[in-house]
């Protein structure tokens, strides 16, 4: 039970039920699709890049609580960040959910995903939005897949 509570923290449940920035923006200039064939999670991430800076993010799609909350928190966290900062955060986030790093200091709200490391098969759910982000930043046309 305690494991479940650390996985499904209030913040995660809140963001999965009321995802932020869940919309089709009018003026995005980058987008990418992500797909997790294992559970059928599918998201489209929209970015507005102003030079090096991400000025707006939004997403659409359907997925499990973990992947939806992760996408939602990603859009909140990265607004105003540079692409380099975003990639650095992805690295830290990845280390957190795979259990490679315990420290959550620089992760802010993203720290709520620390429980994922106890559920290895859910790592793909937690990182889907981030892989999609990477693809959008690289200007990829191909949908990214977790497989």
């Amino acid at each position: 039970m305690s494991d479940l509570r650390t996985l499904y923290q209030e913040v995660i449940l809140d963001h999965s039920k009321r995802p932020r920035n869940f919309r089709l923006p009018a003026d995005s200039n980058r987008q990418a699709e992500g797909f997790n064939p294992l559970c059928g999670d599918r998201i489209t991430l929209y970015l507005k890049l102003d030079g090096d800076r991400i000025t707006d993010l939004a997403f659409q799609g359907s997925g499990c609580a973990i992947s939806t909350a992760s996408a939602s928190l990603l859009t909140e966290t990265l607004r105003g960040k540079t692409t380099a900062e975003a990639e650095e955060l992805f690295g830290k986030f990845h280390d957190l959910v795979t259990g490679k790093a315990k420290g959550t200091d620089s992760l802010g709200k993203l720290a709520v995903f620390s429980g994922v490391s106890e559920f290895p098969i859910r790592v793909k759910c937690a990182t889907l939005a981030w892989h999609t982000l990477k693809s959008a930043l690289e200007g990829g046309e191909k949908p990214v897949s977790t497989e």
């Binding site: 479940l4 449940l13 294992l38 559970c39 059928g40 359907s62 499990c64 609580a65 973990i66 559920f119």
Partner: protein, 422 residues
């Protein structure tokens, strides 16, 4: 003399023993364990079933005492191994009530059985403009081999639609059968909905137009008696691991006349009767389709699994599983926000459902923490998910060792799901 009469009398009029599930469970050592501190409740039987001690021991005995390659050596062990392998074939013949044991081809599983038919029978019989008819409730392994074939040949895959209950729409199915139809390939029982298709009627309808029929029996063979002669199907496929047998072994049944006319599947040892560099003469059935060293121990295990279910009786197994199914449906109907997908009037003990506002993946994770193993996802049937407009479902599938208490554990687990996920 007197004893003999009594004995045969006993066999003929054996009173129907009540189904003793606790005794059955004793045969499955794996069930006696805790998962996350809770007793394991294994409800993922449509994916694979657990193996009784009898199957595990049969394989072990084979490796401890009889292991050898088959059909090759003149020595004692090869003799024994060959005998064990061919005994397995005879057991499968009886299990399916096939006319002859040479109609039983050993393959890796249902998937390979279907691919074999597509790549041999299909390649020879299907041409440009021809059609293959499947249904909307097929497993990917009864879709993709036909797609590959159709693409190669310029043929067309026609899909018979289903209604909201998850049943084949009969008139629509009939409309698809025509002069260009070269094969009907449908599932006997759906792995997602549990729907039992009217396979006898399907075969009869197709045969009236001289169209052969392949039945995907992966989900049927474990749960009900199958009689390929009564069905009169042309091909029947099933997997050992779903009938309490080992992984890596399965069966293709084919009518001898069809199999004989078909080109071989793979080339190699055992499938030939003579080879020169100019010409190879293919072996007779069933060996023509069994190139290379087969899964001998697997066949031994499968034979033991067939003995096991036959000893209990598939009719009794079916009756018991129907009891579990009805109990589960009754109890799941009362779970708030739960919708079952598939309400076929003929249904095997497979239940797919969705919980309002919750994703099956999360449901599966919470259930797992409660010791309840279910499958979540698209169950290798994405077109079927699209038909019901859900990205995924949670699926509970039952086997002969499941209990009413385990149905209750599933329901309690679902209440826990609400508690955790809201």
């Amino acid at each position: 003399m007197g004893t003999a009469t009594t004995a045969s009398h006993d066999v003929g009029h054996r009173p129907r023993r009540p189904f003793d599930v606790q005794r059955v469970r004793e045969d499955f050592p794996i069930l006696k364990q805790e998962v996350h501190g809770k007793p394991l409740v294994y409800l993922d039987n449509a994916a694979t079933t657990q193996k009784p001690r009898q199957v595990i021991e049969a394989e072990q005995q084979f490796y401890l005492h009889d292991n050898s390659n088959i059909h090759r050596g003149v020595h004692e062990l090869s003799e024994r191994a060959t005998q064990a392998y061919e005994d397995g074939r005879e057991k499968v013949r009886r299990f399916l009530n096939a006319r002859e044991s040479r109609e039983i081809i050993f393959v890796r599983g249902t998937t390979e059985a279907i691919n074999l038919v597509a790549q041999t029978f299909g390649r020879e019989r299907v041409g440009a403009g021809d059609e293959i008819v499947i249904s909307a409730m097929e497993h990917h392994s009864n879709i993709v081999p036909w797609q590959i074939l159709c693409q190669e040949k310029g043929a067309r895959l026609r899909v018979a639609p289903i209604n909201d209950r998850g049943e084949l729409i009969w008139e629509e199915f009939l409309k698809l059968l025509g002069a260009r139809t070269r094969l009907v390939a449908v599932t006997h029982v759906s792995n997602v909905l549990g729907t039992v298709n009217p396979v006898k009627a399907i075969v009869d309808a197709a045969h009236r137009l001289d169209i052969p029929v392949l039945l995907d029996g992966a989900q049927a063979a474990p749960h009900q008696p199958v009689d390929v002669q009564a069905l009169d199907c042309d091909f029947y496929a099933f997997s050992g691991h779903k009938v309490y047998g080992p992984t890596g072994v399965g069966v293709l049944y084919g009518k001898a006349k069809l199999l004989e006319a078909m080109p071989p599947y793979q080339g190699g040892g055992d499938m030939i009767s003579s080879v020169t560099f100019e010409k190879t003469t293919y072996n007779t059935l069933p060996y023509k389709f069994e190139a290379g060293t087969p899964n001998v121990a697997g066949v031994v295990g499968l034979g033991a699994a067939i003995d096991y279910v036959s000893e209990i009786g598939l009719e009794r197994i079916a009756a018991y599983e129907q009891e579990l199914l009805q109990d589960a449906i009754r109890k799941l109907e009362k779970v708030p926000g739960l919708t079952m997908i598939g309400a076929a009037r003929q249904k095997a003990a497979v239940i797919s459902f969705v919980l309002e506002g919750l994703h099956p993946h999360d449901v599966g994770t919470v259930l797992d923490q409660e010791g309840v193993a279910v499958r979540t996802g698209h169950h290798c049937a994405q077109p079927l998910m699209d038909r019901f407009q859900v990205p995924a479902t949670t699926r509970a599938s039952f086997a002969l060792y499941n209990t009413h208490q385990e149905v209750d554990a599933l329901v309690a687990g679902l209440h826990k799901v609400r508690e955790v996920l809201g």
